[in-house]
Structure formats: C-alpha cells, structure tokens
C-alpha cells in the first residue's frame, strides 16, 4: 500500500485539515462553474450557439490558418450578405465549416438561401453539402465571424490530435488547483 506521504506533492494535501480540503474542492467547483457561466453568458450576448471557434482547416488560407481563433455573433435581424464569413453546420458532419458567402438570393418574405466557398478552394461548397443540398439556409448558420486572433487556438488542436496530452493537461490543472494554497 502507498502512503500519501510517498508522493511529495500530495504531502500538501495531508497537511491540510478537513475544512481546508472542503475549501479547495469548493474553489475548484467555483472555477469550473465560472467558466461555464462565461461561456453560456457569451452565448446569450452573441446569439450564437458557439461564440468562439477554432479554425480547423486550411480552406480559408491565407486569411485564417489552423489554430486561429474566431469570435462569432449570430443576430437574427442581421441579413446574410455576400463577402461575409459564416460558420455553418452540414447534416451528417460533426465539425462546423468556416467559409465565405458567394451568392445570396432573398425573397420578399425574408426567406434567404445562399452558397459558400472557401477562399483557398477552387470550387464552391456544393460538394461539401449534404447529398442533394444546393443552398444553405439561415438555420444552418452557427455564427458569422466578427473578430479574429491568430494562433491562440493551437492548444485546442494539439489536444484534439493527441488525446493523451489533453488528459495530462486536465489532470495537472485539476491537481494544481486542488493542492495549491493561497
């Protein structure tokens, strides 16, 4: 059997009394719930189900590279127009796509259909859409790109590519928060 004292870093834990231990766990809970609150709050403010996305492909190069961060809004009253960079979901694909609007046809009653294309692609996106789908509708849109920060999302991409790295980081962070004393 291991004694807790065998691990030097757990020595901290042993020196804490019960109250301190509870406090550390509550602290950890606070951090998790604040992060969740910020994310959900952003969803309300921007109207987008995913207000911050990481660019996962090179189809918008040289504007956006893999690992760049985009801030999205999705206000109902803003019309879809050409030139805009939209993030949309296709039925049967898990990963949303970030591409530019190439064509828009809008009816009198506001019903709009549009076609997209990646800046770095030779052809429009009809080949990417679901079989038989020719146009996108407003309901396919997750958000429109409003702000841009380079490189910041690369950590997410590393985590997705190497799941072990993700668990290591999560475990380290969790441990740090639990044993770190102010």
């Amino acid at each position: 059997m291991f004694d807790v004292g065998d691990f030097q870093f757990l020595g901290e834990l042993r020196r804490m009394n019960k109250r301190q231990l509870y406090y550390q766990f509550l602290n950890f809970g606070m951090i998790v719930s604040s992060a969740l609150m910020i994310w959900k709050g952003l969803m309300v403010v921007t109207g987008s189900e995913s207000p911050i996305v990481v660019v996962l492909s090179g189809s918008m190069e040289p504007a956006f590279y893999r690992g760049d961060l985009l801030f999205l809004t999705n206000y109902e009253e803003e019309p879809v127009r050409v030139g805009e960079i939209v993030v949309f979901k296709i039925e049967g694909r898990d990963i949303p796509i970030v591409h530019r609007v190439l064509k828009v046809h809008e009816k009198e009653n506001g019903l709009v259909k549009f076609l997209t294309k990646g800046d770095n692609n030779q052809v429009d996106d009809r080949g990417l859409y679901a079989p038989g789908q020719m146009w996108l509708n407003k309901s396919d849109v997750v958000g429109r790109a409003r702000g841009y920060v380079p490189y910041v999302g690369i950590v997410t991409i590393l985590m997705n590519d190497y799941p072990k790295f993700k668990y290591a980081i999560l475990a380290l962070l969790g441990l740090f928060v639990l044993i770190h004393r102010e």
Binding site: P62, A63, G83, L102, K103, K107, A145
Partner: protein, 179 residues
C-alpha cells in the same frame, strides 16, 4: 519558493500578458479606420443566355456574361494591422422572384506587400453569373460594386464597400450563338 519552475512560470505568464496587451493595443490603434477608397467599374459587354444550370438542377436558368474594367488604388487601406484584403465584385439586382440577389462575379486576395493597384480592362468574370430563375433578361438595373473584407493581424473583420459603382442592363433577347 524560488525554484526554477516557479521562475519559468512567472516569466511565461508575464510574456503572455505583455503580448496580449500589445496585440490589443495594435487592434485599438486601427479600430476606427474607415478603410474607404474610390473604385471605378465599367462593363464593356453584356449578354444573357437561357441554358440548363447543371450545378443546381436541370432547369433552364438565365446565365449572364459580362466583361468589365476595374480600377482602384488600394495602397491607402494597408496599415500595420492589415494582413490581407479580400476583394470581391458583386452584382446586385432585384427580380420578380427575389427581392435581393447578390452574386459574386470576381474576387482576389491582396496580401500586404503585394501590388495593391488594380487596373484591369475587359476581363472575364471568375464565377458564372447564374440567376436563380429567369430574372436577368432585360433587367435594367444590375449594380456592380467592389467591396473588401479586411483581414487584420488581430481584431475585427470589417466588410467595406468601395465608393463608386456601375449600373448596366442586360439585352432583351437571349443570345443563341456559342461563345
């Protein structure tokens, strides 16, 4: 607690915050630019055909052909927080079936350091000018505009329409001959 790790951690955290502050400053210095400049567009030739649009269905749709001239000096749009401009020329018009139609006919990426003076004469469109139906023939109010999407190093992604547009009309007869 002056271990190597804690020092490395402090330096790393400080570097990150300095870089974040500098990036935000860089964005602030250019946040209020209007990114505007003048553009000259002209069409030389315009004709319209009525042919099957195999990219959507087999129905016959109106397909416009134009050649156009385009002049603009975009050097004034570049500053230290502009990584590239995405230029696109749009045809905008109204038809019976659709209140708003926008079709991008041509686009171009200009990165910082590239030649930013545009001077084309009699060039063809890059994309097909398909209408969503039969609204191009004898349509007398097709507006061509050049707009650009400014891609910064970090910051907002403004979409600006250049000053100056061009209106033209399509003939009232479909062209039959092969191009």
């Amino acid at each position: 607690m002056n271990t190597f790790l804690s020092r490395a951690n402090t330096i790393f955290a400080f570097t990150l915050s300095v870089m974040a502050a500098l990036t935000f400053g860089c964005f602030l210095t250019t946040a209020f630019d209007d990114h505007l400049t003048g553009v000259t567009i002209k069409t030389a030739k315009a004709m319209v055909k009525h042919v099957p649009d195999y990219s959507t269905s087999r129905e016959k749709n109106d397909l416009g052909f134009i050649t156009f001239d385009l002049q603009a000096d975009l050097n004034s749009l570049f500053n230290w927080n502009v990584k590239q401009l995405f230029l696109y020329m749009t045809a905008e018009y109204e038809t019976k079936s659709n209140k708003v139609n926008q079709v991008v006919l041509w686009d171009k990426i200009i990165r910082r350091g590239d030649n930013a003076v545009i001077d084309y004469r009699g060039i063809n469109t890059k994309y097909y000018f398909w209408d969503d139906g039969n609204g191009l023939r004898s349509n007398s109010n097709i507006t061509l505009t050049l707009a650009w999407n400014v891609i910064p190093n970090a910051g907002t992604l403004p979409k600006v329409r250049g000053i100056g547009s061009h209106q033209f009309e399509f003939p009232s007869d479909y062209a039959n001959h092969k191009l």
